[in-house]
């Protein structure tokens, strides 16, 4: 397939950012943050997943229809998880 505009340096930067975010997650897991702890842990995971999708998987430079697939997927996952929390949490 054709050469991707993203590559080389962007891959190295993405890789380093993923390693740094992993380190931050580990460091935060040793601090008692209450409800903020899991919010930060999953927020960082979402940021890492986003970096992989955008740069390693080239969503950043892909056509709109692929953005639509990813956005629909994110919406469905959020609906599944939030719906379950609302159901179980409010009993």
């Amino acid at each position: 397939m054709g050469t991707h505009p993203i590559g080389g340096k962007a891959y190295v930067r993405t890789f380093l950012a993923l390693l740094v975010l992993t380190g931050v997650s580990v460091a935060l897991s040793f601090v008692s943050l209450g409800w903020l702890g899991p919010v930060l842990a999953f927020g960082i995971a979402a940021a890492k997943g986003g970096l992989v999708l955008l740069f390693f998987m080239h969503i950043y430079e892909s056509r709109f229809v692929l953005h639509l697939v990813v956005l629909t997927l994110a919406l469905f996952i959020a609906l599944i998880c939030l719906g379950v929390v609302a159901d179980v949490g409010m009993r």
């Binding site: 050469t3 891959y11 890789f15 842990a41 999953f42 960082i44 692929l66 996952i77 599944i80 379950v84």
Partner: protein, 211 residues
């Protein structure tokens, strides 16, 4: 020309064919992700019900081994991306080396996972009704470790499938079936491996960091 991309007759151009291949792969990846999303929903439900037990059980998992495995998979995502990048720039040798490194990292991930399972088995931490870990005898911990085995086991199966695909791609690159102008299989196989990495990125805080 040997490197002239093959275009199937129902596509009007190579670009349209590429786009169709990518879209098809992304729809497959989305359906795979929804399989995990259902299990994530189950995890969220039980964690809401047994918050304290889940945190205690997750704290018992081996954070160092889980973190090493996270770094291993992130590195493997980088090497597979670099393999495709090298192929695009006609550096076949680098592409082969990066694919081989990705396979090696996949194998290392599985070896560490097996080590972890072994450590759990020694303590009597088995899934479902076979759970026999007296120190953490509560319904929340039992549920957590059952989900742990199911989620990490299903993910490990995806790692094995991904390694099979990468091995096949390695042969294709060595045989020059994948070329700088046409390496659709390599790119789509790489996407699958990145999905395996992304799923683990979310499993790691679910199973290790909640302590």
């Amino acid at each position: 020309m040997a490197d002239e991309p093959h275009v199937a007759e129902h596509f009007d151009s190579f670009e349209t064919q590429q786009h169709a291949a990518r879209l098809g792969m992304w729809i497959f990846l989305a359906s795979e992700t929804l399989l995990f999303a259902g299990l994530f929903g189950l995890y969220v439900a039980y964690r809401t019900l047994y918050t304290h037990d889940f945190l205690e059980a997750a704290g018992h998992n081996h954070l160092a081994l889980g973190t090493i495995n996270t770094v291993v998979l992130i590195s493997s995502s980088f090497t597979v991306a670099w393999s495709i990048h090298a192929m695009e720039h006609d550096r076949r040798r680098t592409s082969v080396l990066c694919l081989a490194a990705t396979l090696g990292l996949g194998l290392l991930f599985l070896a560490i996972k097996m080590l972890e399972y072994g450590l759990h088995f020694r303590e009597g931490i088995y899934p479902g009704g076979h759970y026999a870990f007296a120190e953490m005898w509560n319904p929340g911990a039992k549920t957590f470790f059952t989900l742990y085995y199911f989620l990490s086991g299903l993910h490990a199966l995806h790692v094995v499938a991904g390694m099979g695909i990468l091995g096949w791609l390695l042969v294709r690159v060595l045989r020059c079936t994948e070329t700088p102008r046409q390496h659709t299989a390599l790119e789509l196989g790489g996407l699958y491996w990145h999905l395996v990495d992304t799923v683990w990125i979310f499993l790691w805080p679910m199973l290790y960091l909640t302590g």
